[in-house]
Symmetry: C2
């Protein structure tokens, strides 16, 4: 799911160097964090020499990290759109999202950081990463809020609802990771919105 094409390039042929770097970096940063991942590891996993990295990302590791974060954010927006597409109400959309992400959690080795925010805080250039993370978060919030509006909510209500949801989701992912249990994610809607009417 999160491994499909970045920038909508056709996946029939092997991804190009730049994208292979982004893939490898995304996975490794999510798993070991920014500082915990060496360039050598990324290069090895991507099968790319060092010269290419600094050709495609002149500012090196930090550049690559931002690209990886951007790509991840786009993927999450896609999951949001898939989840809310055709949902009869907010709760249904949110629930579907949680289940999709729980499945993803199980596919990843379930000890990784949250795809969205995991990669964005450490590293030497803290302020740059912080701003980048905030922008990515707003992108995702906005996507969810659009669906809320389409379901008849006012703009303010939808934004507030979306923000609250992702606050809960972020905390939920953290707990799921700590316990290695994706059911924490599946249980989120009940926590946030109460037991469903049977």
């Amino acid at each position: 799911m999160l491994r499909s094409d970045p920038y909508d390039c056709p996946m029939t042929e092997e991804p190009k160097t730049r994208d292979r770097l982004i893939f490898a970096a995304t996975r490794l940063f999510r798993q070991r964090g920014y500082d915990g991942t060496g360039l050598a590891e990324i290069l090895a996993e991507a099968g790319v020499p060092k010269g290419s990295l600094y050709h495609h990302f002149p500012e090196g590791k930090a550049d690559l990290a931002c690209a990886a974060a951007d790509w991840t954010a786009l993927q999450i927006v896609r999951v949001v759109d898939d989840s809310f597409h055709g949902a009869p109400d907010w709760r249904q959309g949110a629930t579907t999202f949680c289940y999709k992400m729980a499945k993803l959690f199980d596919i990843l080795n379930s000890a990784d950081a949250c795809p969205v925010f995991g990669l964005l805080f450490d590293g030497p250039d803290q302020e740059r990463f912080r701003v980048h993370a905030a922008a990515a978060f707003d992108l995702i919030i906005a996507a969810a809020a659009r669906h809320g509006q389409a379901l008849g909510l006012t703009r303010e209500t939808a934004l507030d609802l979306a923000e609250t949801f992702f606050i809960g989701f972020e905390g939920g992912w953290t707990l799921a990771r700590m316990r290695r249990d994706s059911d924490v994610l599946r249980g989120l809607p009940n926590r946030l919105y109460g037991r469903p009417p049977t």
Copy 2:
């Protein structure tokens, strides 16, 4: 607040070597993460030579990180107890906790990781840290749940309420950090429990 005495030793005299190491490590890990912090930095901030570190923490950096995490967890339990002490109901206790932590957020340079869970995931010894984090979390949950029971809730309800609260809190801290805005924390009770009855 979070700088007071570990292990209840009197603060009149200078903290001993071991505690100075824990203080410095706590602060630096929270700020730059485990992998982002070098031993040299910690040693410099604590004013302690390398030999002492490996005397007090034979397994080195990882040992120190666990000690720092344990100490932090105890501090958080204290804030929980302070917040719920004398609170008329759950919501009041939770609200006080959020305000106290918001104040702490402002005192720290407000770009740090959540005191409880920020330090615990990266690093080479991932599994050890994960288990440690889960235990610390359960400690804090249990502390809050005890107050819930004292307020008349059943054990199950209290545990569930506490878990949900800290899920929200963890996500809230993350967002507060991203936006550099402690009001995200102060707004949490309204998000979780609805607008208060005026």
